[in-house]
Symmetry: C2
Subunit: 219 residues, 2 copies
């Protein structure tokens, strides 16, 4: 019998929106998956030949890029940050929408087109460097794993690059959006080699593609 | 009036053990700090001239190394991984004890002294590379932010380097410890420049040093 397909999903916000889509595509986690006290990382699926792993968003991309998971769901921010050649993102799921933005304290004038060097606190150093390079600005990135929004107040950086949804977190911290680097939504991702060699992955992509296409027609 | 001192503490396990020590050193967070629904990142202290930020462990080191926080508490694993020259760790707090270990599936023979190349999943790529270099082994590190223990089962890596406390997580995942890279405990850390220029930081270090020394005598 074939090895089960491993499907990687991120902890957190995207997951609640992803589960109904996964269900319609036939990827239904066992009941234990929904038990918040359960600290397991690997779960069976109902009647399927897949198993589900629930890991951090950045790790979803890493597992799929290395073929340790064959498919998964992750934000386009993570896909763009890593830029893994082995990762293919064939379907935009239209969920988890937000944007990756440049923000600065509301009290300072915009740096755009003036500074040639900036210090930027971000979880996305690769995307940040690429964005500012295109503007002719050298961005010295301080990598943070969270709490980007307090960096300017504490003098860690003049600028942050962070995910923005409603904008309330920025506002609460006296920051204002200066530019959008990337419009973000969650994508179905697959490992390119697995897609070529395992017909179950191609079938999975087709099921997600069909249901997104049907949703678009219904809307 | 002077700027308040910013004291950085990590979310999670170490914090419960650190709070009594901080209290005896005069760093007592306001009541809101203990409200689990409170998503604020910055807190006042009771009657003190300090503020407390609660961030991820790796970010504690980054804030203090850059002088955005002047002092903090973090595990020696994080200090060793970054090896920031601006970070000084004068007091071993004797809490948060665990170890950073190499682990492999129990079903494979030890790689020690045999392989010249290993793929290792870890949150600590710098420490891992340094450790294996000393053994004459080239370690290709796959950086994960969590869930290291499922990497061997899924074929992501032959080996992991992860924090081990009771060893139960390794056991649950069919892994066995092969070597200890580092004995870990939480340390008081300070920014070197702040220590030289702000007498409040030197006083803070002395208070922590005195209470640890008193504790050692009492024990």
């Amino acid at each position: 019998m074939d090895q089960p397909i491993t499907f990687a999903v991120p902890k957190g916000r995207i997951l609640d929106e992803a589960l109904p889509l996964m269900g319609r595509a036939g990827v239904v986690p066992e009941a234990a998956f929904h038990d918040k006290a359960n600290r397991a990382l690997t779960f069976a699926t109902e009647g399927g030949d897949a198993r589900i792993i629930r890991v951090r968003a950045f790790d979803v991309a890493t597992f799929v890029a290395h073929g340790a998971a064959q498919a998964g769901i992750v934000g386009s921010d993570v896909i763009a940050e890593f830029d893994y050649p082995e990762l293919y993102a064939p379907v935009d799921l239209g969920i988890g929408r937000c944007r990756l933005s440049v923000a600065e304290p509301v009290t300072v004038a915009s740096q755009d087109g003036r500074a040639s060097h900036l210090r930027v606190a971000t979880k996305y150093p690769a995307l940040t460097r690429r964005y500012f390079e295109r503007q002719g600005v050298q961005a010295e990135c301080v990598k943070l794993n969270g709490a980007m929004e307090i960096a300017p107040t504490l003098g860690l950086s003049s600028t942050i690059v962070d995910l923005v949804s409603s904008g309330q977190t920025l506002k609460d911290n006296g920051l204002v959006e200066r530019a959008t680097i990337l419009e973000v939504s969650a994508r179905l991702i697959v490992n390119r080699t697995a897609l070529k060699t395992d017909p179950r992955i191609a079938a999975l992509v087709e099921r997600f593609r069909a249901l997104i296409s049907a949703g678009a027609k219904a809307a």
